[in-house]
């Protein structure tokens, strides 16, 4: 396991930021942590980085206690508050980080140029950060997080200051890093972004980890199909109602609930046997937003 927490808790004076969080993240996963504002997402990440001390519980990152220098050396972090030293240029900042990460001097220049190109800041590296837009500063913070090719990358709201093009570029960077074997821990409010990039999800609310697991598990929790068919016998409709399978009907489109995928061909067979003509059968997956709302409201 790359990240393992056991009953990890953080209590502020009157506020529980995280409560007994148990989490396991394996190598190569893109883990998306979802939750409303103030749910404890950023606090959890900060505890894993050793920036915030837990009140109780344990956390190990890359086999070391959270915040250990050896773990930090292989970790990258893009904070939600991505302020930089405004009196430096991007090149100077990345040079500093390269030295801190002990990237060999002979490779530093090349690595900095590659990273700047990856985040779309090439040609602007000599300018003072003070003159950068928020989006550019976030891109630079991302560059600082991935410069040393970390084994584990924490991204806390990585696209909050970016336009749609920038968001797409960050998604591409996440995909690239993931393909190269980097394990990614992503905090985001943007559910569509998480849906597109993550392999695993965790839901947190009021400091409690409500649920976690592979993305497919959440997306397949609700099994619904739509059937476009003509001449559906009334007896079939009554049967669906009795079985509590019937959800809605619009003209010749029927929305039905199924317990699993295997029921779908059986339903189609029964319809054909009853004399119906079937034009379309479509399986509906519930959107992440729907899953999120259900879990958070529960």
């Amino acid at each position: 396991m790359l990240i393992e927490t056991y009953n990890l808790s953080k209590q502020y004076e009157q506020n529980t930021a995280c409560h007994e969080i148990c989490l396991s993240i394996k190598e190569g996963q893109v883990f998306g942590l979802l939750g409303p504002n103030g749910a404890g997402k950023s606090t959890l990440v900060k505890m894993l980085l050793g920036l915030v001390y837990p009140t109780s519980g344990q956390a190990r990152v890359l086999g070391f206690p959270a915040g250990h220098q050896k773990a930090k050396k292989q970790t990258g972090y893009l904070p939600e508050l991505f302020r930089q030293y405004e009196w430096l240029s991007a090149a100077e900042l990345l040079q500093l980080y390269a030295r801190i990460y002990e990237i060999p001097a002979s490779q530093q220049k090349k690595r900095i140029a590659e990273t700047l190109q990856l985040v779309g800041l090439q040609g602007r590296e000599r300018e003072r950060i003070k003159g950068y837009s928020k989006g550019m500063q976030q891109r630079l913070a991302l560059a600082g997080a991935i410069l040393h090719k970390p084994a584990l990358l924490f991204l806390d709201e990585p696209t909050s200051a970016l336009d749609p093009i920038g968001r797409r570029e960050v998604r591409d960077i996440i995909a690239l890093l993931s393909n190269n074997g980097t394990t990614i821990f992503l905090n985001s409010h943007l559910l569509s972004e998480v849906e597109m990039t993550c392999t695993h999800l965790g839901f947190i609310n009021h400091g409690n980890m409500i649920d976690s697991g592979p993305v497919e598990d959440f997306m397949q929790q609700k099994h619904e199909i739509t059937i476009v068919a003509e001449e559906v016998p009334a007896s079939m409709l009554n049967r669906w109602r009795l079985e509590k399978r019937f959800i809605a009907q619009h003209d010749q489109t029927y929305t039905l609930a199924v317990d699993n995928k295997e029921e779908i061909p059986l339903l189609v067979e029964a319809l054909v046997a009853g004399g119906s003509r079937i034009y379309q059968v479509e399986s509906i997956q519930s959107g992440l937003e729907e899953v999120f709302m259900e879990l958070i409201q529960d």
Binding site: V52, K72, T75, Y77
Partner: protein, 278 residues
């Protein structure tokens, strides 16, 4: 820690407060030079005793150094108060502390960088004051004694820097600045009370001064620096009884105390910053 020192030195060089401080310092030295020129000119009348010129010159030197304590103190407090808390308040600490840099390295590196800057600044400032006073009044000061005094004076802003780092490790920049200035003022008032106590031979007043020196030994270090810089002439001079002199010269034990004081204060700064949540 090396990178933190380099980063902080660059940060300080970009601070507007330092640029303003340098301009104000140049103006102050110009004013001091002009005042010394006219003062030396007015007492350089035929028949005036050389010892009298020396006394006035020494008085000007101590006054110049005393005012320098305000400049050095202000620089140390205004820059040092936000040394750590400024990083926390702006959020830049998240980028730095998440990297393989230990918290003691951050505190130590920043303190060292600020110490280098204030030490260089105070050396240049009091050195320039001594040169101006020496030139206009033809002061007979032993070079070794003067250099020792300047070396001791460097400790003065470092004491305030250590206090600023202690506050900055735990509290906000504003709170740290206010409290450190109050402690600085306490040391000044305590020093004055002690000087007056010595002149009036009032033991209670002297004791108040001693206690204030134990709380914040900055003023005591200044008095020690002045006394050492002037050598035998300063000690025997009647002007050592003035408000800027060292009528009650602190002992070597005070120097040791000040060094231990800085170490202890910084140990607490390390401890507080090490336990702080970002």
């Amino acid at each position: 820690m090396k990178y933190i020192v380099q980063l902080t030195l660059k940060e300080i060089m970009n601070k507007r407060i330092l640029h303003m401080g340098i301009v104000m310092t140049v103006l102050y030295l110009l004013l001091f030079g002009v005042a010394s020129h006219y003062s030396a000119k007015s007492i350089g009348i035929p028949g005036s005793e050389p010892w009298f010129t020396q006394q006035i010159g020494y008085q000007m030197l101590t006054m110049g150094w005393y005012i320098s304590t305000f400049l050095c103190g202000a620089l140390a407090i205004l820059t040092g108060s936000g040394s750590l808390s400024g990083e926390v308040e702006s959020g830049t600490i998240l980028g730095l502390a998440s990297k393989p840099v230990s918290r003691p390295a951050i505190v130590g590196g920043k303190f060292l960088a600020y110490t280098i800057v204030t030490a260089v600044y105070s050396t240049v400032l009091v050195g320039a004051v001594a040169l101006l006073a020496g030139y206009f009044f033809k002061l007979q000061v032993e070079p070794i004694a003067l250099l020792s005094g300047i070396g001791l004076f460097m400790l003065f802003p470092v004491i305030l820097l250590a206090l600023a780092h202690l506050g900055s490790a735990r509290f906000s920049t504003m709170a740290t600045g206010v409290v450190t200035f109050m402690l600085f003022a306490l040391a000044i008032i305590g020093g004055f009370i002690e000087q007056i106590g010595v002149m009036m031979q009032n033991a209670s007043m002297v004791n108040i001064g001693v206690v204030s020196s134990l709380v914040v030994p900055s003023d005591a270090i200044y008095r020690l620096a002045v006394s050492v810089a002037a050598g035998p002439m300063g000690k025997s001079s009647v002007v050592s009884f003035g408000p800027f002199g060292a009528a009650s010269t602190p002992s070597t034990a005070m120097l040791i105390y000040a060094l231990v004081y800085i170490i202890i204060v910084m140990a607490f700064a390390f401890r507080f910053f090490g336990k702080r949540d970002f």
